[in-house]
C-alpha cells in the first residue's frame, strides 16, 4: 500500500459545499453583478492609460503572447538538446532553469553544491558552460529568459559575454532575467548578500542593460513565488507592486531616469484556479501600476507606464494525485492569463508537481497554449471580458484591496524593512498554514486531493530520471576550465571587480562581463563580493 493511500482515506463526496460567494482572496461576489456595482465605463480603452483593457490597442492581433516553457536540467549539453527540441516544436522563446548551486553562487566543486548539481536546472558555473548551452542557437534570433536572482547580474554578464563570443551585437539581445531579489528573501530563498548591496546590484544591472542591451528586460518583478508559497492573488499583486516601487526608488537614487528605465521593467505572476479573480488581478494590477507611476513619480511617457507581465500556469495549484487532472487545470489557467492580457505564458507540465517533466508532458503543456492561441478564438478581440459587470466590479474591488495591502506595508516602514525583520515572511507562512487548513477541512475543494479521490491511484506511466553521474562530470569539467584558462587574467579581473564594488558609485556590470570573459566562475565572483558585503542573515520567525 502506498504512503498516500495509507493516510488519505477515500473521500465521501455527497456533502460537498455549494459554490462559495467568496473568491480565493476572500472578496465577496454579488450573486448577480449589475451596472451599479462598478465605476461607470471605468474600463477605458485598450492602449490608453491606465490600461485596464490592455497595454496595446491591437491586443493579440498585433502580437501573440510568447510561449515560453521553463526547461533546463543536468548538463549544458542535455539542456541544449531539450531547447532544440522545444524550438522545433514551435516554442517562441527559451526559458532557462538553473540548478541551485548556480542560483546560490556555489561552484560545482563546492561540497554544499554536490548533492544539488543539475537537479532543478542546468549547472552554469562559467562562460564555457553557457557557450555549450547555446551551441547552434543564434542569440540574436531568440529571446531567452533566465530564472535567476541571487546571481542574476553574473548570469546576465555571462549572457552578454556569450553573445560577444558568438559575434552577436549586444543591441540585438532580447530576453529577461528575473533579477528580483526582494521576493527571494520572502519565498524561494536563493538570496546571497544582505538586502541593501543586493538592491545595488539589481539597479546596476538594469541601468547597464538599458544602455548596452536596450531590448532586454533586466528585471522581472515576480509575485509568482510568494503566491505559490501561500499569498492570495490580492497579496501577490500587492507585494509585487510594493517591490516594484522599491526598485524604482533604488534606481532613482542611483541616478536612473524613470521615463527610460520604467519601459524595461517587467512582471511575473502565477495563475491559479479562481478564474475571474485571476483575470481581474491582472486588469487591476495593470491599471494600478500605471496610476502609481503617474501619481507618485509624475511619469508621462506612455510606454513607461506599460505593465508588461509574464505568467506561469500551474505550480501549487497542480496536484501529485491524479496528475492528468492538471492538464485541465493548466488549460483553465491559461485562458485566464490570456483574458488578463499576459505578454508571455509558461504552462507547467502535468507531472511537474512531482518531477522534471518528460518530453511527452512538456510537449502537451506547450500544445495546451497553442490550442488556446490558435483554436479557441479568445485572442481575437482585445479584453473580451471588459464591460462585464462582474469583471468590472471585481477589477475595481481587487484594486482597492491591493491598495489596502500596500498601505499596510507602508505603515510597517516599507517592504525592505518588512523583509529584514521577517514580518513579511511570517505573514506568508501564516497564510500558507491557513490555506493548507482550508484544504484539509474541505473549505477549499481540490479534486483528487480532498474530493473525488477515488479508490485507484492512477500514476502517470513515464518518469524522468537524471543521470547520477552528472555531478561528477560537471564538477570535473569546472576543474578543467580552471586549469586551462589564463589564471593571471582571472585574478586581475576579480581584483578590478572587488575594487569597483568598494566604490559605491561604480556600476559593477562592466567588471562582471570582463570576469566572465576570462572564464572566472560564478563561485569566484560571488566569493569576491561576499568578502566586502557579507552574507544575508535570515530572520527566523516561525
Amino acid at each position: 500500500m502506498s504512503q498516500r493511500s495509507e493516510l488519505n482515506a477515500v473521500t465521501d463526496d455527497k456533502d460537498l459545499p455549494p459554490p462559495s460567494e467568496f473568491t480565493a482572496s476572500g472578496i465577496s461576489l454579488p450573486l448577480v453583478a449589475i451596472a451599479t456595482d462598478h465605476a461607470p465605463r471605468g474600463e477605458g480603452e485598450p492602449g490608453r492609460a491606465p490600461y485596464t483593457r490592455g497595454i496595446f490597442a491591437d491586443g493579440y492581433r498585433g502580437r501573440l503572447w510568447t510561449m515560453r516553457q521553463y526547461a533546463g536540467f543536468g548538463t549544458a549539453e542535455e539542456s541544449n538538446q531539450r531547447y532544440k527540441f522545444l524550438l522545433a516544436q514551435g516554442q517562441t522563446g527559451l526559458s532557462v532553469a538553473l540548478d541551485l548551486p548556480t542560483q546560490c553562487g556555489y561552484d560545482p566543486t563546492d561540497s554544499l553544491a554536490r548533492p544539488e548539481i543539475g537537479k532543478v536546472g542546468v549547472s552554469l558555473s562559467n562562460l564555457s558552460e553557457m557557450e555549450t548551452l547555446f551551441e547552434g542557437i543564434d542569440l540574436g534570433g531568440i529571446s531567452t529568459s533566465f530564472t535567476i536572482n541571487g546571481t542574476a547580474a553574473i548570469i546576465y554578464a555571462m549572457y552578454v559575454a556569450c553573445a560577444d563570443k558568438q559575434g552577436v551585437p549586444r543591441r540585438k539581445l532580447t530576453g529577461t532575467i528575473q533579477n528580483d531579489i526582494l521576493k527571494e528573501y520572502v519565498a524561494r530563498g536563493t538570496w546571497i548578500f544582505p538586502v541593501r548591496p543586493s538592491m545595488r546590484l539589481i539597479a546596476d544591472t538594469i541601468l547597464y542593460s538599458n544602455d548596452e542591451t536596450p531590448r532586454f528586460n533586466p528585471i522581472s518583478i515576480a509575485g509568482a513565488h510568494v503566491r505559490d508559497a501561500g499569498a492570495t492573488a490580492v497579496e501577490e499583486m500587492a507585494y509585487t507592486l510594493a517591490n516594484g516601487l522599491a526598485y524604482v526608488d533604488e534606481l532613482i537614487s542611483r541616478g536612473g531616469n524613470i521615463e527610460k528605465f520604467a519601459k524595461r521593467l517587467s512582471f511575473f505572476f502565477y495563475v491559479h484556479m479562481d478564474f475571474f479573480e485571476e483575470v481581474c488581478k491582472f486588469r487591476a494590477g495593470r491599471r494600478l501600476w500605471a496610476r502609481l507611476l503617474q501619481e507618485r513619480y509624475k511619469v508621462t511617457d506612455d510606454k513607461a507606464l506599460h505593465f508588461r507581465f509574464g505568467v506561469v500556469c500551474g505550480g501549487s495549484s497542480l496536484t501529485a494525485a491524479q496528475p492528468y487532472n492538471n492538464v485541465v487545470r493548466v488549460a483553465v489557467e491559461t485562458m485566464a492569463a490570456v483574458l488578463g492580457g499576459a505578454q508571455s505564458i509558461f504552462t507547467a507540465a502535468f507531472d511537474e508537481a512531482s518531477q522534471i517533466p518528460t518530453e511527452f508532458s512538456a510537449q502537451l503543456a506547450l500544445r495546451t497554449q497553442q490550442i488556446i492561441a490558435y483554436e479557441s478564438g479568445i485572442s481575437k478581440s482585445v479584453d473580451p471580458l471588459g464591460g462585464s459587470h462582474l469583471v468590472e466590479f471585481l477589477t475595481d474591488k481587487t484594486e482597492g484591496e491591493i491598495l489596502k495591502v500596500l498601505t499596510e506595508i507602508d505603515e510597517h516602514g516599507g517592504v525592505v524593512k518588512a523583509i529584514e525583520d521577517g514580518w513579511l515572511q511570517s505573514r506568508i507562512a501564516e497564510r500558507a498554514y491557513e490555506r493548507k487548513m482550508s484544504v484539509d477541512e474541505r473549505r477549499t475543494i481540490v479534486i483528487g486531493v480532498n474530493a473525488f479521490t477515488g479508490k485507484e491511484e492512477v500514476q502517470s506511466g513515464e518518469s524522468f530520471r537524471l543521470d547520477p553521474e552528472i555531478a561528477k562530470r560537471v564538477s570535473s569539467r569546472c576543474e578543467v576550465v580552471k586549469e586551462k584558462r589564463d589564471n593571471d587574467a582571472v585574478a586581475r579581473a576579480l581584483a578590478r571587480l572587488s575594487d569597483a564594488a568598494s566604490r559605491d558609485n561604480a556600476n559593477l556590470l562592466p567588471y562582471l562581463v570582463d570576469c566572465c570573459h576570462t572564464y572566472a566562475t560564478v563561485g569566484e565572483m560571488v566569493a569576491e563580493l561576499k568578502k566586502l558585503w557579507g552574507g544575508f542573515k535570515e530572520p527566523i520567525r516561525v
Binding site: P115, E116, A187
Partner: protein, 134 residues
Amino acid sequence: MKAGPLRGKRILVAKPGLDGHDIGAKVIAIALRDAGAEVIYTGLRKTPESIAKIAIEEDVDAVGLSILSGSHRELVRDTIRCLADLHGHNVPLFVGGTIPVEDRPELLSLGVRRIFTSEMKLSDVVDSIVAALR
C-alpha cells in the same frame, strides 16, 4: 507548554542543502507547535553535519527534513551518517517534500520513519508522528 499529543516533545525541523522552498517546513512547524511540541526550525541552507549537531546538542526527540529540490537521496543518506557519527542512531527521522513514489522504499530502508507529501492532511501528519514516537 501547550497541551496536545506532542506535549513534551522537542522536534527539529530542518532545511538541508540549497533548496529555498521553506513554506512546507514552516507550515509543519506551526502544526507541530499547535500539537504541543517544542519546535526548533533551522532556517535555510544547513549542511547534514550542522543539522546532526543541532539535533544532538538540543537533545531532540525527532528530526524532520524538508526537501523539495530532488536531492533527498543524497541529503537523507548524509544526515543519517552524520547523526550516527554523533551517536544519534536512534533519533527518529522524518522526511517531507517532493519525494517521488519510487524513491520512498530506499529512504524508508535507510531508516526514515515516515515520508510526508504536501497533499497529506496536517492532522494525519501529526498523528503519524505521534504514533511513531510512542
